[in-house]
């Protein structure tokens, strides 16, 4: 039995002998699978009776089988850091998905598994897209694929003149998203990045005139932005409390404990949880059961008629 890990993240235990025993069996089966998969691949290329789509599907599965063995082989050469598992819990010790996420929180035990990224509306918390990368890349790499997901949803709209198609005005995120290259790409798309902090200091809710002017002077951006939108963007800056509420709604739908197998399984489980959570959000919007903050945001986004009894100034 081996114990490892930083003290601040809690020390985990791994039964090395058990892992090694499993490894021998898995590698033995895997070596046969690889040779068989390669020979089937050759037969598949010469078979003309199969439909091209079907052939592609089978080739993908064979490729996956080969890659799985390669991943197990790679991991068998180095025992990954691990944590002790609770009783009745079974995982594949050589699954890449149980590799630790060596980033993020320093005040809790090491996080394991996958790290899906979500993009949501700041008002109601409706989730527009999900990105689930292979492995655990840095957080900044999630931004552009998620923006593409929102663009794909906007492209589905069949709006014609005089109805103007919506566009993304601003994006908020935590310090992990702070990457100059990502900021540049977002600016090229006309999206302000005032919601992504540069330092650990919190983003001011109300910008000063000089801050607004600095953003308006940013090349490319000034064509798509105006002072009001920038004020709203500041007011919609990153809020951990808001994000936690989104994550909680996904947790209670089982999105953080993946029971299906592999990357595709994780994608299905998280995707279904997101659709179910979004449906609940839409029910709340239709019934007007939203928080004061969400109601205020929706007025700024012009999703709700102005309430003349209240002050609608975004600076408040």
């Amino acid at each position: 039995m081996r114990t490892f890990g930083r003290a601040c993240r809690g020390k985990g235990k791994v039964y090395v002998s058990l892992v090694r025993d499993t490894e021998k069996q898995v590698l033995c089966v895997g070596s046969k699978v690889v040779s068989l998969a390669l020979s089937v691949q050759m037969h598949l290329q010469s078979d003309a009776s199969l439909h091209p789509e079907q052939k592609g599907d089978l080739e993908d599965k064979l490729k996956e089988a080969i890659e799985t063995h390669q991943a197990i082989e790679k991991q068998s050469r180095r025992l990954v850091n691990g944590k002790s598992l609770p009783h009745c819990k079974i995982v594949n010790a050589y699954d890449v998905t149980i590799a630790p996420i060596k980033k993020g929180k320093s005040n809790c035990a090491t996080q394991f598994g996958k790290k899906p990224g979500i993009i949501a509306e700041m008002g109601s918390g409706f989730i527009f897209g999900l990105h689930l990368p292979q492995g655990n890349p840095d957080d900044a790499s999630y931004v552009m694929p998620l923006i593409d997901k929102v663009d794909a949803a906007i492209d589905r709209l069949t709006w014609t003149y005089p109805r103007r198609r919506p566009s993304i005005r601003s994006l908020a995120g935590d310090l992990g998203m702070n990457d100059p290259k990502v900021r540049e790409k977002l600016h090229n798309k006309g999206i302000t990045t005032v919601g992504i902090p540069n330092t650990i200091e919190p983003i001011p809710k109300v910008p000063t005139p000089s801050m607004i002017q600095a953003i308006l002077n940013t090349p490319i951006l000034n064509e798509n932005q105006n002072a009001t939108q920038i004020k709203i963007a500041y007011a919609c800056g990153y809020s951990r409390t808001f994000v936690e509420s989104l994550i909680n709604s996904l947790i209670c739908r089982g999105a953080t404990h993946i029971k299906y197998k592999g990357h595709r399984g994780a994608m299905i489980q998280i995707g279904m949880a997101i659709i179910a959570a979004n449906a609940t959000t839409l029910v709340r919007i239709k019934q007007d059961r939203l928080s004061k903050r969400a109601q205020k945001c929706r007025r700024w986004f012009r999703l709700k008629p102005l309430n003349y009894n209240e002050n609608n100034d975004p600076n408040e």
Binding site: D57, E121, S167, G254, A255, I268, I285, K286
Partner: protein
Amino acid sequence: MGKLRQLRHWLTGQGRRIDVCEFVPQTHPLRLWADVLPWSEFVGATHRSFSRRFPKQHSGGQAPIEIRVLLGLELLKAETNCSDEEICHRLRTDFGVMYACGIKEVQVDGCQDHFVLPEVLCRFRGRIDEALMNEFVAIQSAVAIDEGLVSPKHLVVDTFPSEQGSQRVTDATTLYKAKKNSLKSQNRSQID
């Protein structure tokens, strides 16, 4: 005719039919939840994806269970956070679940066994791929924007950890739980 055949377990009964829409109250949470989802678009996207990736080899045999029912079960499973067995079992008796799965009428009497087997639901899930899942989310987002319920103007991006593992009950689990239960009962008897 296809639907009749798949519902034969229920429709062979002698009782009158129940209109599910009338039976489920307008304010039922599952009814409200199901009414906001763009089912026709979801079913269309699934049908297109499946027919492209899994072309039908034979035309005979029993009619398949409708995609709408299976998709409804899959989403309900996430919403209610229950297992395949539990949700398939609820479909037999729970009118809210029937409504969410798009079943319009049911027979009062008749055998209700094995309406949708968990294995069938599992096989359906096995056919869903990443592209289709992304399409579902895009469809739902587009419909919500179109209806003016949400706006993509100001967004937030974040990540969250998601642990992968299985909670299947195995012999080891059963043995462990049996030992635990016997210990508990021993302790109770000693206290008594």
